[in-house]
């Protein structure tokens, strides 16, 4: 079917999907910790809107529960929790220098093209109008991974990890109308527990090496 013949709601879903990809790029480029957390929250908002639209246009109302979980966890709870941690650890004004930011951006673009080629055969299997977004969600996952690799600060690595989870959730929503409810609830609670655990880890790392820069973990301290 031609793109111009799709109903406006589905065009809106596709546009929101592209916006989610854009927020992934913003996460990759963002150097201030607080803005990073805010961008992550905005990605959650877009994910919530997409899920609601999918629920509305497909008539599968159980997706609203997933959307509600996304709104509660990824838009409010996790960003709030991370922000609180950042304030308590007193790293609010920290700026992380991302080395070779333009190279990272080019790598991000290459990852999008790569995931498009990988997803080409997969999309033949799906009947949904939104099947083209499988490539986008794969790209969001890979961009989250790229962020995990390129960042040095523990907080931004956690944000990268969470945005990978966003990508997975998005893939499930657009390709198969979401995962079974049990799985979804399980993942939601896993993410919740992970954030709390990460919080404890932050304090441990900070107490152990005096900084949240994980590069310091490569050095041994016994010698001096």
């Amino acid at each position: 079917m031609n793109y111009a013949q799709l109903p406006l709601a589905e065009q809106l879903i596709l546009t929101l999907a592209a916006m989610i990809l854009f927020t992934s790029f913003l996460l990759l480029a963002q150097t201030r910790i607080v803005s990073l957390i805010h961008t992550f929250a905005w990605q959650g908002v877009l994910l919530f809107l997409t899920t609601c639209l999918m629920a509305q246009s497909s008539g599968r109302y159980h997706l609203y529960i997933s959307a509600g979980l996304t709104l509660a966890l990824k838009v409010f709870f996790i960003p709030w929790q991370l922000r609180r941690l950042v304030i308590r650890l007193n790293i609010r004004r920290d700026i992380e220098n991302v080395g070779g930011s333009s190279m990272i951006m080019i790598a991000g673009g290459a990852l999008v093209i790569f995931s498009y080629y990988v997803a080409l055969p997969i999309r033949e299997l799906s009947e949904l109008a939104t099947r083209n977004t499988i490539a986008i969600s794969l790209a969001v996952i890979l961009l989250g991974m790229l962020m995990l690799i390129t960042r040095r600060k523990a907080v931004s690595q956690v944000v990268g990890f969470m945005s990978m989870e966003n990508g997975l959730f998005f893939a499930a929503v657009v390709s198969t109308y979401g995962m079974p409810m049990v799985v979804e609830l399980g993942i939601a609670f896993d993410v919740l527990v992970a954030v709390i655990l990460f919080g404890i880890f932050f304090f441990q790392i900070k107490a152990g090496i005096g900084s949240l820069d994980v590069d310091h973990l490569n050095r041994l301290h016994e010698v001096d």
């Binding site: 793109y3 111009a4 916006m19 790029f25 673009g109 999008v112 083209n132």
Partner: protein, 314 residues
């Protein structure tokens, strides 16, 4: 024949309205900052005054310095004649496409930069170097954004692009959202507005456009200033044509032309207000952050192209 007369009339209208657009932006900006502000028609008085004044040339000025204002101005006027302002389907817009438009701007910029370096003052050279830095980063982003749109509308001719968009029912293309944002950033950079260059500054170390024309006086200065005003107007009309094409006349009947005229003024009126709000809210960026800003524009346009390929083609 009728079309040619209309095309010439449209270009003259563009020429005459450009100072009003600049004056309007300045006036709204003054009101937003609780200042009295000169009336919107102040740029006409300035230009008139400058045209009357005599030209003072530096001793080291070469002929390039003297012809540059005329070349810059006429290149910008030619660029303006390509852009459909009131009506589409005029003969001038049929002979050249948007790549020629970018080329005209590049020609004007080349001579502007040469003129900046010609007299040999430190300010001029600095301004030229900065202008070329910005241009070399902005141009790829602009072309990328335009190619993204051209892939959807199957043309690089501005008139047929606008016609294609007008004839379709309302569509929401992800690639258009991205190229709109990218082209907006490029337009702000290319017309020397606030996060990149401050148009209201004189004799500061941060200026770009003003630094290049610092040595100009009299009618030369007037032409340079008028050219810059025209450029702002052209970018405004370009964005209006591509992203808000409604209202532009698609035939040459008087009623359609009138609607086109009103709609283009309305669009520029609103664009001027939003530009003034943006300029009041933002601070000028450090020059070394410009690559980041234009890199964002490029990434946006690139994402537009990728989302066109991934999402819109089946």
């Amino acid at each position: 024949m009728n079309g040619w007369i209309l095309a010439i009339a449209q270009t003259i209208l563009l020429l005459l309205c450009a100072p009003l657009m600049t004056g309007w932006v300045r006036w709204v900006k003054c009101k937003l900052q609780s200042r009295q502000g000169a009336p919107p028609w102040q740029p006409y008085r300035d230009l008139f005054k400058l045209f009357k004044k005599e030209v003072v040339l530096a001793e080291s000025a070469s002929p390039i310095f003297r012809v540059a204002p005329y070349i810059v101005f006429s290149a910008t006027v030619l660029a303006g004649s390509i852009v459909p302002m009131v009506a589409i389907g005029l003969p001038t817009s049929a002979i050249a496409d948007v790549i020629v438009l970018v080329g005209f701007f590049a020609l004007g910029r080349f001579f502007l930069a040469l003129a900046g370096m010609d007299v040999g003052t430190a300010f001029g050279g600095m301004g030229s170097s900065r202008e070329m830095t910005i241009a070399s980063l902005a141009e790829p982003a602009m072309l990328m954004g335009i190619f993204t749109m051209a892939m959807t509308v199957h043309s690089t001719n501005l008139a047929s692009m606008t016609r294609y968009l007008l004839e379709q029912p309302l569509q929401l293309y992800p690639s258009f959202v991205f190229s709109a944002m990218g082209l907006l950033l490029v337009a702000v950079a290319e017309t020397g507005r606030i996060p990149i260059d401050n148009p209201a500054t004189h004799l500061e170390l941060t200026m770009v456009h003003e630094a290049m024309i610092l040595e100009y006086t009299g009618r030369h200065l007037a032409l340079m200033e008028w050219g810059a005003m025209l450029k702002l107007m052209i970018y405004g009309i370009l964005l209006g044509d591509l992203f808000l094409p409604w209202g532009i006349a698609d035939n040459l009947a008087p009623v359609a032309l009138l609607i086109g005229l009103v709609s283009v003024f309305l669009k520029l009126f609103l664009l001027g207000i939003s530009l003034a709000i943006m300029e009041t809210g933002l601070a000028k960026m450090r020059f070394f952050r410009t690559p980041q800003y234009l890199g964002l524009a490029f990434i946006l346009c690139l994402l537009g192209m990728l989302s066109h390929v991934i999402l819109e083609i089946n």
